[in-house]
């Protein structure tokens, strides 16, 4: 295998970083945290640059970039704690529509997403925090040429703002995906630890949509699982980026902060924490890009790889938040310092779409079933 970026991928990484350095500086994340911005302007800019189209198939007006390229973008979004609907729209909504509706119908449904005119999200979890479609209890039933929904969805990212919600519900016992206009539900937004990534509790009770909003044919459990593999890997990439930013802040701090007449980075107690953060980040980095590669090639390892990426990013996050906040000393505990902007993004990444522990146990079960490492 050739496990390093190509020249084109490195060029993309530089370009994405430059754009986000200019368009999503820490001041933007701070303005969002202070309630002075909703990040809409950034979305407009990114849409103008065709970012939403990047990873979508050409039939849907997309640019057909691969998943490794998408992961590069996501890592940088995390590194900048960038706000906005990109993540839910491109890595949650679009994959679920693609998997559930099939490529032809999805091309029509996603053309407005590719053009940056429509935002979306998914409504899967019902409180367990595992995003497992097998646990879905919400239902829909036919009523003439309409569908009527019932049930409550939790942790719907951008649930109060997305134009379209792809809701996973049961129809006659089968798992199905129904597109629900955001304007037709009454979301209750949860007070978010990271105001740049908001989620809502969404009641579907009594929501009526035309029957043609039912995607695909037959049970969508597998389609949902496949789509969620992309969402899970995406959050892992974002969390990785947030961890890298935390680490960069702390590694620089340890070189500059003088106590007892020397930089604190000269103390082994500090060095060893930094080395452990670096180890966990690099471990997560290779697993995130392995997941990206398996998704890009639709390789059979994608299920395992997505869970490994998510769990490794979660472990890296745990150490970087814990030791990063500790090593920053008092200054990192202040609102004025930028550190908390990234701590928040990293923590959200751990708890959305299944915790590290959930995914570790999943990895172990897959291993025990498969019979090989």
């Amino acid at each position: 295998m050739e496990f390093e970026f190509t020249e084109d991928q490195l060029e993309l990484q530089r370009a994405v970083r430059d754009i986000l350095d200019a368009e999503a500086p820490p001041e933007l994340a701070r303005a969002v945290a202070d309630g002075e911005s909703d990040g809409a302007e950034l979305w407009g800019t990114l849409a103008g640059l065709e970012w939403p189209a990047m990873a979508l198939p050409a039939d849907a007006g997309g640019l057909g970039f691969g998943w490794v390229e998408l992961a590069i973008v996501l890592e940088e979004l995390g590194r900048h704690a960038a706000p906005g609907p990109f993540v839910a729209t491109v890595t949650q909504f679009a994959p679920l529509v693609l998997e559930a509706a099939g490529p032809e119908d999805a091309a029509v449904l996603l053309s407005d997403v590719a053009a940056g005119r429509t935002t979306g999200t998914v409504a899967v979890d019902e409180g367990a925090g595992t995003w497992d479609p097998a646990g879905v209890q919400a239902t829909t039933r036919r009523d003439g040429d309409h569908l009527v929904l019932s049930g409550t969805k939790h942790y719907v990212v951008d649930g109060a703002t997305a134009d379209e919600i792809a809701a996973v519900v049961r129809l006659d016992g089968e798992v199905r995906v129904v597109l629900v206009p955001g304007s037709s539900v009454q979301p209750v937004e949860v007070m978010p630890i990271d105001p740049g990534v908001r989620h809502s509790t969404v009641s579907l009770d009594g929501v009526r949509v035309p029957a043609d909003r039912l995607l695909g044919r037959g049970d969508a459990t597998r389609a949902t699982r496949r789509a969620l593999e992309e969402s899970v890997a995406a959050i892992a990439a974002i969390t990785l980026g947030a961890c890298q930013q935390i680490f960069d802040i702390i590694n620089a701090h340890a070189k500059e902060r003088i106590q007892f007449g020397v930089p604190i980075g000269s103390f082994q107690a500090v060095k060893h924490k930094l080395a452990d953060m670096y180890r966990d980040i690099e471990r997560a980095r290779v697993l995130v890009y392995y997941a990206a590669l398996t998704l890009a090639e639709d390789h059979p390892d994608r299920t395992l790889a997505a869970s490994m990426a998510k769990a490794a990013a979660g472990e890296a996050q745990r150490r970087c938040v814990q030791d990063g906040l500790q090593l920053a000393g008092g200054i990192g505990y202040t609102w004025e310092h930028d550190l908390h902007l990234f701590l928040r993004r990293a923590k959200v990444g751990e708890l959305h779409f299944g915790s590290a522990s959930h995914h570790r146990r999943r990895v172990a079960r897959l291993f025990l079933q498969s019979g090989a490492a």
Binding site: F3, E4, A275, V286, F367
Partner: protein, 399 residues
């Protein structure tokens, strides 16, 4: 980025695999087992010699030194094949991997043919004399003294942890030749025959096995010909760090294979062996998941290092790989020991638990494996030293 090797690299793998099919000794011939890391049974000596002569012992070397100028990916699949078939490259790993490698890198043409080639062809075995009672992590603080007296050195002092020395024909020993300069600048590397008068080896046991491997080696006015100096006088630190670099270049593959070996054994026991009861325990599953991730991460980080090295980029992850690999083995063996409960205390190893072509240490009981992993986190630079190295050399923190 891509997931597979090129067809050329796969062809290389197939060629080696076919060679192994044709040349691996019969299992019946392998009854005599190595007693230490410098004791090679006759059947294994002849196999190692055949690997050398056919260019399969160290594929990255030129043919005169047992290789075929293989590139890094070809070397990687060579190791993958050995690992998959559970074949140890040499029962004298430090002799081959460090002593002969150092002589080939730093020695004269005559030294290469007098020492390196016989060690590689398993005609002679070698041990590495580095650590001393007062020089472990601070290796450059070593004090075994060698005084140049005409055309010979007179050596006095002591080495310790010298693996396999009691069975080795020669030592590559690092000695102080100039005590009046900064410590790194007064060290030289000498090849010392172990039967030289005044040299005494005292093997001692470690906590995991009955046969000793470690030795104390005492030097009492040991005379060493000047021609046994490897590299320049007082330039031994370069030989020393160079030899460790040899050790570390592909070392991740061995960490990775050791970890995968543990996972394979664990899988077997959790699915239908002594550990079947633990397979449903969420705490065990949680830890197992993390170890599986360690295994993948190690392999991927190693592959990334290969890809970078092939592009001529600076490669700085050796400490990271060593730290991750050695600690991952420790974490997993402890997990399995605890998962088994009191059954894990049994030191019995099933007779078919290992292949005859690998070291008898490949399949210890979980309790012994756990103890044995400390050989990984202590030797070759302790985990603490590697954390310092990462912080200073990779992350740029002050010393």
């Amino acid at each position: 980025m891509r997931l597979t090797y090129s067809p050329e690299v796969e062809a290389f793998r197939a060629e080696f695999s076919a060679w192994l099919d044709a040349n691996l000794p019969d299992e019946a011939a392998t009854a005599v087992r190595p007693r230490s890391s410098a004791d090679i049974p006759e059947w294994s000596r002849s196999f190692q010699r055949r690997m050398f002569d056919d260019g399969w012992l160290v594929p990255g070397y030129p043919p005169e030194f047992g290789g075929r100028n293989a590139d890094l990916y070809e070397q990687a699949v060579f190791w993958e094949e050995l690992g998959r078939r559970r074949i140890t490259q040499s029962f004298n790993p430090q002799g081959l991997g460090i002593v002969s490698a150092s002589i080939i890198t730093f020695g004269t043409g005559e030294q290469k043919h007098r020492w390196a080639v016989p060690i590689m062809r398993a005609e002679r075995t070698a041990a590495l004399g580095m650590s001393e009672p007062g020089a472990g992590s601070d290796l450059a603080g070593l004090s075994t003294r060698a005084v140049l007296d005409g055309d010979r050195f007179i050596v006095n002092g002591q080495k310790v942890w010298t693996s396999g020395a009691h069975h080795a024909d020669v030592l590559l020993a690092f000695v102080r030749t100039d005590p009046d300069v900064p410590k790194h600048k007064g060290i030289s590397a000498l090849i010392i025959e172990t039967d030289t008068p005044g040299l005494v080896r005292r093997p001692f046991r470690d906590i995991t096995r009955p046969d000793p491997d470690f030795n104390e080696v005492f030097f009492d006015d040991v005379e060493v010909p000047r021609e046994n100096l490897v590299g320049e006088l007082n330039d031994g630190w370069r030989v020393c760090t160079g030899s460790l670099a040899h050790e570390r270049e592909m070392l991740w593959i061995l960490w990775s294979q050791g970890l995968d070996r543990m996972l394979d054994d664990m899988l077997e026991q959790l699915n239908d062996g002594a550990g079947a009861g633990a397979a449903g325990d969420p705490v065990v599953l949680d830890g197992l998941g993390s170890s599986i991730m360690d295994s993948w991460a190690l392999r991927l980080l190693g592959q990334r290092q290969l890809a970078r090295s092939r592009r001529g980029l600076h490669v700085a992850d050796q400490s990271l790989l060593k730290l991750l690999g050695s600690e991952a083995q420790q974490k997993l063996s402890l997990l399995m020991l605890e998962a088994l409960g009191p059954a894990g205390l049994d030191r019995t190893v099933p007779p078919d638990a290992q292949s005859p072509y690998e070291s008898d240490r490949a399949a210890l009981s979980w309790a012994d494996r756990y103890f044995f992993t400390f050989a990984g986190t202590i030797s070759g630079g302790t985990s603490e030293i590697h954390r310092n190295i990462i912080a200073e050399r990779v992350l740029g923190q002050p010393r």
